[in-house]
Each structure stands twice: as C-alpha cells, then as structure tokens.
Subunit: 318 residues, 2 copies
C-alpha cells in the first residue's frame, strides 16, 4: 500500500466539517482505499464484481440442501439477470462478470483423492488472476457452487486447525443430518490428506474447488496490481485465506464486506483479523455481501471527497 496517500487522506479527514472520528469506519474506509488506490482522494468509477462458479464431487455425499445441477441453472440465472447479485450489482453501480469454471465437470471427491489435479488447479487460479482488470478501482469476489461450503470448511480446518464440526454450517439450509454428513466429509478429508494439507496452496488444491482457486487467483492479482479487494462470505474468505497463511500481510489489501450467517464465518474472519462491514444475517454467496458493502464504500468516499472543510465552510473547530 501507499503510505503517503493514506497519510494525505487522513490529513484531509481532519479538515472536514465534522468532529474528528465522527464518521467512524467510513473514515477508515476512505483512508484504506487511498492507501490501495495510491491517491488521497480515491474513486469508485470501475467497480468489478467477479463471481466464479464451480462444481464439487462431494455434492454426491448429500452435503447440500440443493441438487448439484443448481450450479449450472444459477449460472444461467446470472446471465439472464435474475439472481440477487444482478440486482445488488445494479444498486452498487458495479460491473458483474460471471466466470463458470468447467461447471459440467465436478472436482474429485476430496474424501478419497485430490479435489483438483495440479493442472486443473493452475488453470483455475489463472482464470481468477486474469479476470482482474488492471484499471479496476475495486474488485469484489463472489462464488456459486452447490456443496462449496463443505469445501470451504475443509480448507479452513486445514489452514487453521480443528475438526470438521467446528467449521461446517447449514450452507443453503441443510438439516441436522446434513450437518453431520458435512462434518463427517470434512473429517474424512482431513484424515485422508493428512500432512499434505500443511501447505496452504496444497490445501486449496486438495480440498478446495475451482471457484475457490479462482478467487485466490483474483485476490493475488488485485494485490499485484494494488487494487483494493472486497471479500464476501464464508467460502470466499476461506478461498483467499491461503494468502494470509503464505505471508503475514497477504490480505492487507482486503476488506471483509460482511459476516454471514454461516456458522464459522465469524471465527474465520477473527482468525484473519478482519472486521466485517455489514452484519445482516445474509448467507447467499454470489458476492452478495460484498456488493452490499460497496454501498458503504460509496458513502465513505462521498463524504471524503465531497465535504467542505472547516475553513471553506466558516465553521468553528472543536
């Protein structure tokens, strides 16, 4: 990040017609965006929402409330403009790109083999990396993939420890039996892959999924291009978490858009030291929480860039 731009943004905040600090996190957001856009007055003209879709071998193990074919059906719904993320992207003034990753070909069942081959993994990471445009002012990540909260739970367990029970949740709405099956699948994966999961990248390949690998690639590209990143829910957070495990400040360019209702998301955000902007009990994925958070970023920049200073307005300071 650009320390000088961040300092200039903080200095500007101190001159605006409000008690210091009274806009709370809106002030922090403006300074954060200044740091990662490298300018004291950041803009949100080109906001990109990238939604990656993938299919999962473990869907066959009854870990989702919805049938596996819903992934492809929802990709069609995105294209037709009918999904929640289409509406939210519109409100947020963002461009939505949906990138299906071999959705007709599920990953391997990771309880008894790797989710992806090296080739499939690299292909997915690259697809995410290349989806980030260099001229974006902000990149928001999202996903669609029936059964992918199970993959995310397995990845989180691999990265941060603990058994499956501590990382699984109800996803799209499984019942108690489904929840138990999810925990069993995660525990089976942890037992099968064992020590190989100690490497964060290997964990992403072995128990992740194509759309998770792609989100990781996109987060990496945003960092290289110095573009601020807005992450979404549990699956998205798990997917980018290897960046933080590989390097201490690997996610310094990221804000957590929201905390979802998926049980382990709050724990995962805490592990990463990320404080969510929104807490509305959402648990849809698709980048929906990130898209809602874009609205708060717009509010932050409207104040930061548009307010009068004490001197301009002739208002007495405190």
């Amino acid at each position: 990040g650009d320390d000088e731009a961040a300092r200039a943004a903080a200095a500007r905040q101190a001159t605006l017609t409000k008690p210091p600090g009274s806009l709370g996190r809106l002030e922090e957001i403006a300074i954060f965006l200044a740091r990662w856009q490298g300018r004291a007055q950041p803009v949100l003209e080109r906001v990109e929402i990238l939604v990656f879709a993938g299919s999962h071998g473990v869907a066959a193990r009854g870990v989702s409330a919805f049938p596996a074919e819903v992934t492809q059906q929802m990709v069609a719904n995105f294209a037709a403009g009918g999904a929640a993320i289409n509406q939210l992207a519109g409100v947020a003034g963002a461009r939505l790109s949906v990138i299906p990753l071999d959705v007709e070909r599920p990953t391997g069942d990771f309880t008894c083999g790797p989710a992806m081959s090296e080739t499939a993994f690299i292909h997915s990471v690259r697809a995410g990396f290349e989806a980030v445009r260099a001229d974006a002012d902000l990149v928001c990540l999202g996903e669609m993939g029936i059964a992918n909260t199970t993959a995310a739970a397995a990845l989180a367990a691999a990265l941060f420890g603990g058994a499956g029970e501590g990382w699984v949740g109800r996803g799209t709405g499984v019942d108690d039996a489904g929840l138990t099956r999810k925990a069993d699948v995660v525990n089976a994966a942890l037992a099968f892959h064992g020590g190989a999961l100690a490497d964060p990248l290997a964990a992403l390949r072995l128990v992740g999924g194509r759309e998770l690998a792609a989100m990781f690639g996109a987060a990496l590209a945003a960092r290289r291009l110095r573009i601020p990143l807005l992450i979404d829910g549990f699956v998205c957070t798990a997917a980018v978490a290897p960046l933080a495990r590989l390097a201490g400040h690997g996610l310094a360019h990221a804000l957590a858009g929201h905390v979802s209702a998926e049980a382990a998301h709050r724990r995962l955000l805490e592990e990463l030291g990320l404080a969510p902007l929104v807490d509305l009990g959402m648990r849809l994925g698709e980048g929906s929480g990130a898209a809602v958070a874009v609205l708060l970023l717009r509010a932050a920049l409207a104040c930061h860039n548009g307010m009068a200073t004490f001197a301009q307005a002739g208002v007495a300071g405190g």
Copy 2:
C-alpha cells in the same frame, strides 16, 4: 401496518431464486416496507431526510466540545451542501430538508427550569409534524444542535430510569471533565423536575429541545400517514422514544438505521427493542446513520422487486 401486504411480500420472497432466508435482514426489510407502505412491492422513489436544528441553554454549562455558534454555522453548511449529510443524501438518492427551529434562541437551561414553554414545545412538534409529506415512501430523521446529546441523555434517563452517568457519552468529543459535567447536568435536571418527568410528553418538553420535539412530531406524522420511518443516532432515538412509552407499538413503523458510538445508544435501542441495521462507529448525527441505512433498504428492494422466481428461471428448489 398492512398485514396483507406484509404476507404477500413474504410469499414473494419464498419464490425468489435463493435459499429461503438467505438474504437475512434484507428480506425482513422488504417485508417491513411492504407492511408500512401497504403494497407487496414497496418502492423508494421519494425518500425524505429531515434534519432539524435547535439550540440549547445547557450548552453554556460546558457540555460540548464545540461552541454553541456551530449549530448555526452548520445550518449554513447544510444549505451550502458541504456537510456529511449532503453527500450521504446524494448517495442515498434522498431529498434533504433542513429545518432550523429558532436556532438563534436557545432553549431554557433545563437544570433550573423547563427547556421549552408549552407554546414553544407545541410549535416545535408541529413543525416536525408538518415537515412530513404525505407522498413520501420513507422518512429519515436527523438533527443538529450543539449540546443535544446532554438533552437526549436527560430525556432517556427520564423515560427509562437510571442516573446521568448511565446515559451520557462523549458526543462530539468531550474529555473526561466534560463527561462528568454532562452527568452532573443530567442529574441536576432529574432532581429539579422530579415527578413531572414521569409523563413522556412532559419529559420531552422539560428536558428535550426544539429539534427533539420536532423529530417526535415527524415520527408521529409518519405513523399517521403510514410511512416507514428510519431513525438515526442517540439524540434521534431519544426524541422518538416517547412514542413507544405512550403506546406499546408506537414505534412499530420505525427501523433503527444504525447504532452510534455514543455510549448509551445501544442501551437505548435495546430498551426500545430496535435492532440497528448498521454498526460503523459513527457519531455525527445529521441523519448520517439513517442515510447510510437507506442504501441497505435500496439493496433489499432491488432484490425483492427485481429477482427472478424459481419458476421464471428454471432453477430447482431445495
């Protein structure tokens, strides 16, 4: 509220292409707006932000970090478009009206007399009542008034009990000595007015202020006109709280836009059973928290009104 419209909105939510409940509070918001707009597909075409400004006799007691003349200076800043609320109203697509209430004439020092005469009180309530247009889709309340967190603390103590220490906060940024002075002022007011404060309307007149009385009047008008209401921070919440004390469901048409950093706001919201939509550490007033929350209401309605149904999209249900 309109139960039938709320039921129709809930039924519509169940058909949209997402797992049931997965949009969390965005679903509740859509149903709430349906109930109070009396239509299954609510709209936010005419969003009104009403900011009332008033001056306070107790400002002379050193209860604010800013001099009393800032109230009038900020009214000029609102008119010139330089304040935070001007920018936030723009982002929220709302019309901002600023209504100064005799700002050149402070209320009485309520530690040793009534803040307002009966005449001044009725005048202020009426000004708020008449500021609400019958054709509004949503009314947001805000305020400006140096020293008004002290008035709000006194009012909250009168309505919900407890000593000044439990209701005062740092407002625009007072130091420890200022905080002690605020508590002393509230306790002096409680002692001086005594049993007269048991009547919620009398409490609003005796220890409130003109802008608080006006927000109360506007909240009452919104209820009579069946217009949903979005309330702002600590001062605004205290101002409308008498409605809930006068009638059990007196604030059923209101959503809490945010919880502010002012210490007692969370407690006050809990007393009223209101769950804030946003928690960003804001503490500016001006309707700023409500304006940010408008963005979430827009997100909720974009999904509610714009999403495809399972049948339309050909997506399999759970």
